[in-house]
């Protein structure tokens, strides 16, 4: 949503305004979102694998 006055994407806030978690998030600033998406998908696949293997183990199959 645009305003009448000059407001482009919010300017980088200076470090004193951020808390610990946000400072941590800022370290990822340079990484394109694509790679983060890939990371998320990899984790989800790992999650599915863990559940599957754990379950099979529990049933005594593995």
């Amino acid at each position: 949503m645009e305003q009448n006055d000059k407001k482009t994407p919010a300017p980088r806030r200076d470090p004193s305004q951020l808390n610990a978690i946000e400072k941590f998030y800022e370290k990822f600033r340079g990484i394109p979102l694509k790679y983060i998406d890939i990371f998320i998908i990899v984790c989800l696949v790992a999650l599915a694998a863990v559940v599957l293997i754990g379950s099979l183990k529990g049933f005594g199959v593995l």
Binding site: E2, N4, D5, G30
Partner: protein, 502 residues
């Protein structure tokens, strides 16, 4: 083939509640520096973003080198030879200068089946680019090691490196020193000689008149006209930008200053380099303008009075009673209100609604049984203020950050009015606000003074100070250097006091 390299015609762009561009147009010749001027909110940045593909136009066309085109985004524009240096930098300080210059279009090479970034080539090209713009930074150095103004020069180098035919500079000198501005002008001259079309967006009259060949002026999203720079004067430009004769910029004021009510004596900061021995008084129903150069410590002094900064010495008296102010709540409880300079940083609660923003300082007045918030009464308060101050907003639940600057400022004023303060400190109240809203705010200020409130207004706009103040206090380097009566005030005597360094 037309004489214009780039044309934009009949551009219309609307956002919810706001018509940002109303049949705007632009015509760029090759080898020309074309200035684009207008008040904040005139639509300059929006027009450029439409050209660049960042925004999608509702209507209108872009004709580039004789052909109608549709530019899909910044990289597409860059590939066609249209580069833009943004007003607000988006640097990646952790990365090297070279990486920042080529971000998104890194030169690549193949290592077997994999494509990787060709760092060698990148740094080689980066070094060449930096040389072209007369910057001798090491392209491998981290961008964050540079100062803000140096980063801005790198941004400019980045745009130049793209070997563009059209270069858009949006407020390029906002963070540059005088020497760096000269360096920039040299680059601009060289580019012009090479035949590049340059769009130069700026507020600074003297720069515009010096460097540009043509000037296009916009106002409230509309195209007003294009003139050759050598035919223009500052006054003419201002009149066209503002749409009003200079004499009608400020509302008539009916306030009659009464007796002295607010006195400050020998106010000194704990920081020896900041404000010291400041003494002044304000009368009832008076507007006291506060003038000074950047660094005069005007904001710091007012923040000190409001309890945002610590003071080492000094006395504040209201109607004869001494006030002890150590934090904003003390000031508020004593009837003082302050509209801060940077409303995004210290003014608005961006992620909260308008209703929350208006009521936050006066919640104690809207309680049921002393504990529960009376939403109905709060809603009533909001509606009253929306009507009284003409705040444009879809609803009271809208987040304040989606409002325009002028409306945000009105919400903040409503917040303070809810406490019925006697002393109102305003720090750059019309900064970053479009023309129409500015006038509305002046009217509000005039009305408050008429009601008997004492107004202290810091402003860096000379005409605003002269047009609105009953009296002007001038500061220089932390000291109060003098007072000028409103009717005697002019640019010269204000500047004389503002530059009275010890």
């Amino acid at each position: 083939m037309s004489e214009y390299r780039l044309e934009m015609r009949g551009v219309v762009k609307t956002f919810p509640g706001v018509k940002a561009l109303d049949h705007a147009q632009l015509q760029l010749r090759p080898g020309t520096v074309h200035a684009l001027m207008g008040e904040n909110g005139a639509g300059k940045s929006t027009l450029m973003k439409c050209m660049f593909g960042i925004y999608h136009m509702d209507e209108g066309e872009v004709i580039y080198e004789g052909e109608p085109v549709e530019i899909k985004g910044p990289l597409d524009a860059l590939n066609r030879g249209i580069a833009m240096v943004h007003q607000e930098l988006q640097p990646i300080p952790e990365r090297s200068i070279g990486e920042n210059i080529y971000v998104g279009r890194y030169p690549t090479k193949k290592v077997g089946p994999i494509t990787v970034i060709d760092h060698e080539k990148m740094y080689e090209s980066a070094a060449k680019v930096l040389e072209e713009v007369h910057l001798n930074y090491d392209p491998k150095a981290k961008l964050g090691s540079l100062s803000v103004s140096q980063m801005q020069l790198v941004e400019i180098a980045k745009a130049v490196s793209a070997d563009c035919k059209v270069l858009i500079l949006d407020e390029p000198t906002s963070s540059l020193t005088a020497a760096e501005v000269e360096a920039l002008f040299t680059i601009v001259d060289e580019l012009r000689a090479k035949g590049v079309s340059i769009v130069y967006i700026s507020h600074k009259m003297d720069e515009i008149l010096r460097i540009s060949d043509e000037v296009t002026i916009m106002r409230d999203g509309q195209y007003i006209g294009t003139w050759a720079s050598k035919e223009l004067t500052t006054d003419f430009i201002i009149t066209k930008m503002v749409g009003r004769e200079l004499s009608n910029l400020y509302p008539p004021r009916e306030n009659v200053p009464g007796e002295v009510v607010f006195e400050v004596e020998d106010f000194t900061s704990i920081n020896p380099k900041s404000f010291r021995h400041a003494s002044f008084s304000v009368r009832k129903g008076e507007i006291l303008g506060v003038a000074g150069l950047v660094g005069a410590q005007r904001t710091e002094l007012m923040e000190g009075l409001f309890g945002l900064r610590c003071h080492a010495a000094g006395k504040i008296t209201y109607k004869g009673q001494e006030l002890k102010i150590n934090q904003p709540r003390d000031a508020i409880n004593n009837g003082i209100a302050m509209l801060t300079e940077d409303r995004r940083a210290t003014g608005i609660l961006g992620v909260l609604s308008i209703a929350d923003n208006v009521s936050i300082s006066s919640l104690n007045k809207y309680l049921i049984g002393g504990i529960m918030l009376d939403d109905k009464k709060i809603e009533q308060l909001v509606q009253d203020n929306v009507a009284k101050l003409s705040i444009k907003t879809p609803s009271s639940k809208t987040l304040i950050q989606s409002l325009s600057g002028g409306n945000q400022q009105k919400v903040l004023i409503s917040r303070w009015l809810a406490n019925d303060p006697d002393v109102f400190i305003l720090d750059e109240p019309t900064r970053g606000i479009d023309v129409g809203a500015k006038y509305e705010i002046y009217c509000i200020i005039a009305e408050l003074a008429k009601q008997g409130k004492s107004i202290i207004m810091i402003s860096s706009e000379m005409s605003e100070l002269i047009g609105m103040s009953d009296r002007i206090m001038v500061m220089c380097d932390g000291r109060v250097t003098g007072f000028i009566d409103g009717k005697d005030a002019n640019q010269e005597n204000i500047m004389a006091l503002a530059t009275q360094f010890e």
